[in-house]
Amino acid sequence: MTPHKPDPVIHVIDDEAPFRRSLIFLLESVGWTACEHESAESFLAAPPSLHAGGGCLVLDIRMPRISGLELQRRLAAIDSPWPIIFMTGHGDVDLAVQAMKDGAVDFLQKPFKDQAFLDTIERAVELSRTRQQASRRRGEARALLTCLSPREMEVARLLALGLSNKEIGRDLAISDNTVHVHRQHVMEKTGTGSAAELARLILRADPAGLDG
């Protein structure tokens, strides 16, 4: 349970100072590194990047000026990877549903049990790490795929879709030999040994990479 990876960071954003500080105190009690922000603006002023260790955001849903939901929207707009946990003192079911639809990890109603809170934090940090990993592997996949020429990329996509050399040659109006040569290059450059492996790589780089 104790985090072993390097320093995941928990950011608590709440305009209620005493409560905010009590959460920081709680998080630090179990060894988390926690940062406090008194408003969405102060967080956005210098948005910290999510590093490999992971981390998450704890947001009060109602805040003056920029609310928690608004912050969530803005972060989504810039593809922020931060997992978000929402807190509210009001039983705002509508707001909770919206927040979950928009990808929130969880929704906590004050007052909450410290264990529930810490468990949610744990989950969110895990998620952030998974996301970090996926992101890293997507980067690697993309890097491999960018080495392919456009013709090789076309061949690779068709291979990944499970087509035979003949079918590929007919589709692309090239000879079987040419298809074979391209296939050799693709396998070498991407370091894959099979069409199935190639397909996973393409999907990792772009989940929609095999669509029509």
Binding site: D15, E16, P18, F19, R21, S22, L23, F25, L26, E28, S29, V30, R62, M63, P64, R65, G89, H90, K110, P111, F112, D114
Partner: protein
């Protein structure tokens, strides 16, 4: 007694001797005088008088060759007027009139007429009361009580006044109608005519007239007899005392020399005619006495002191006045009784009204209390949250400490920080509860002086304490330094401000502008303080604004519609008015009211 008489006689002879000596010495000076104006009292008009008195005029003219003697004849008033105007040097008039002129115009008698030859001039005038001889029931003046008595005129001296005085001395007062005078007028013969006709029981003649008429044969002897004759042996019978005769008097401004010359001339006259018979001036005291007794001029002022006479004279007026007073008294008593009855009715009505008002006040307090509870109820959601906040914070710290203890990394610093935060949050929770308890407590209305900015500040704190994300509330204090204090029911006014703030906030939430600031302005207006709460909500249509303060009017789905109507009655109980207006500068609503300043406005600029 004898000695005094002698002395008087001495004085008299001395006086005459001296006068003569003086007059003789002065004669040459008088010779230069030109006019001697003599006014004579004339009863029967100028002609008769002139005939009677011309002898005297001629005789004086003969004795005073260097002067022109001018005789003029007047009635009583005319004589007094001319004399007062200084148009006469001398007057000749009857004793009564002389006494009046002496008193009023300082007339000085220099001679008195002698009427009966051989008698001294002091006792020549008087009256005889005559009755028909056959009236045996009338023996003395006392018998005249209740009878009719013929006289000449009311101001005739010997024709009425002397007898009047005599009757009065006998306690028969004509003014009390104890004898009835019949004034027949002049000449005096009319008195006899009245008697002859039987219209009167007795008649008044001047002394000696009866004897004169009998002597002349104009009246049969023995037909009339005189009542209560004073000196039965005298040649003429009198019923009254004798008074001095007519007076010859000088005006105050008449030169002494002229007076002396005239006196000498008068004293030297001689003849059978009575107008020529003059003696030394008589003592007119008896006349004064008589007039004083009668309380007539110049003693009419004595009447004012005679209450009895007044009552008798004015008894009908007095009776009328008394009747009026009685009626007035009755009226007053009646009015008083009515007033008392109405007062009782009125106090009963007042008591009933007071009771009603008391009931209403009780009801009002209940309503007010309900409304406060209702405000609390409406705020309870946020209130619960507001209490949750410190409680959750406290919980977090406590559990964190436990975790640190178990994991063995509990530092003293952490304990200190947590304990401090826990204490602070506990106080915050207690503060919120205190505010609510104060606010929700049932209590009678109570006015006190309180500092307005402080009161508003407390409400703002309470209001902000109830909300998680309370909007900014800006208080603008336009009061002058010395006038901060208002005389109000503190809690009621807090309730009003709290209601207005809540309404303002709700209005702003309604259009998603909860974060907008709410403005409160404190300002003096005439002799009161105006407090205004302004929001930036959607405002109200005019039609709604009209009903804003009616009970059960609300624009809120969950509102009871009591808040503002209670606010309105609270403000009206403070003699103010709660009004809603559209702000000049944009959207929203402005609710404002006025409150009385504290009577003892503080002058220390605190």
């Amino acid at each position: 007694m004898r000695r005094r008489t002698r002395t008087r006689m001495d004085v008299c002879s001395f006086f005459i001797a001296r006068l003569c000596a003086l007059l003789l010495a002065c004669l040459p000076i008088v010779a230069g005088a030109t006019e001697l104006r003599i006014g004579v009292l004339a009863w029967f008009g100028d002609q008769t008088a002139a005939t009677q008195w011309q002898t005297l005029g001629a005789a004086l003219q003969a004795h005073l060759p260097h002067t022109t003697v001018l005789m003029s004849y007047h009635d009583m008033n005319g004589l007094e007027k001319s004399f007062a105007a200084g148009q006469l040097d001398f007057i000749i008039t009857n004793p009564g009139h002389y006494v009046v002129l002496e008193a009023r115009h300082r007339a000085t008698r220099i001679a008195t007429q002698k009427i009966e030859p051989g008698r001294d001039s002091e006792h020549v005038v008087g009256s005889a009361v005559i009755v028909p001889n056959e009236r045996t029931d009338l023996r003395t003046l006392d018998d005249l009580r209740g009878k009719r008595i013929a006289a000449t005129v009311p101001d005739g001296f010997s024709g009425w006044m002397t007898v009047w005085a005599e009757l009065k001395r006998r306690d028969i007062d004509p003014e009390r109608k104890e004898v009835t005078p019949l004034f027949a007028g002049l000449p005096m013969s009319r008195v006899i005519e009245t008697l002859d006709r039987g219209e009167a029981d007795a008649g008044i003649l001047r002394v000696c007239l009866l004897e004169h008429l009998v002597r002349q044969g104009r009246l049969p002897a023995g037909r009339y007899r005189v009542l209560s004759p004073q000196e039965p042996d005298a040649p003429c019978l009198r019923s009254t005392p004798a008074y001095p005769g007519w007076a010859f008097a000088a005006a105050a401004q008449t030169p002494d020399a002229l007076a002396r010359a005239t006196l000498v001339a008068l004293l030297s006259l001689d003849g059978r005619d009575s107008v020529l018979r003059w003696g030394v001036p008589a003592d007119y005291h008896p006349v004064h006495e008589m007039l004083r007794e009668l309380q007539v001029a110049p003693y009419e002022f004595l009447r004012e002191h005679s209450l009895g006479a007044h009552i008798l004279q004015y008894w009908p007026i007095g009776a009328g006045l008394l009747a009026f007073l009685m009626l007035w008294l009755l009226y007053t008593l009646r009015v008083d009784a009515l007033v008392q009855r109405r007062t009782r009715e009125l106090s009963a009505a007042l008591a009933a009204r007071e009771e009603l008002e008391e009931n209403m006040q009780t009801q009002c307090q209940k309503m007010e209390h309900m409304s406060r509870l209702s405000v609390l109820g409406q705020l309870s959601g946020t209130l619960a949250h507001e209490l949750n906040q410190p409680l959750a914070t406290i919980g977090n710290y406590a559990r964190s400490l436990t975790r640190r203890l178990w994991s063995g990394n509990l530092s003293e610093e952490a304990i200190g920080q947590a304990a401090h935060e826990i204490a602070e949050q506990a106080e915050r929770a207690a503060g919120i509860l205190d505010g609510i308890r104060d606010f929700a407590r049932k209590r009678p209305s109570r006015r006190e002086d309180c500092d307005a900015p402080k009161l508003v500040g407390e409400v703002v704190a309470l209001f902000r304490g109830m909300l998680v994300h309370a909007p900014e509330i800006r208080i603008e204090d336009k009061l002058r330094n010395e006038k901060h204090s208002i005389h109000v029911d503190r809690l009621q006014i807090q309730q009003v401000v709290l209601n207005l703030l809540k309404n303002a906030y709700d209005a702003q939430v309604e259009i998603d502008r909860a974060g907008q600031p709410i403005d409160i302005v404190l300002e003096p207006e005439d002799d009161r303080m105006r407090i205004t709460v302004r929001d930036h909500g959607p405002g109200l249509p005019d039609a709604d604004r009209e009903h804003l303060f009616e009970p059960f009017f609300t624009t809120k789905p969950d509102g009871m519609g009591l808040g503002l109507s209670i606010c309105k009655s609270i403000i009206e109980a403070h003699a103010g008015q709660l009004v809603a207006t559209q702000p000049d500068d944009g959207a929203g609503l402005r609710l404002s009211f006025t409150l009385p300043f504290a009577a003892t406005a503080r002058h220390d600029a605190t």
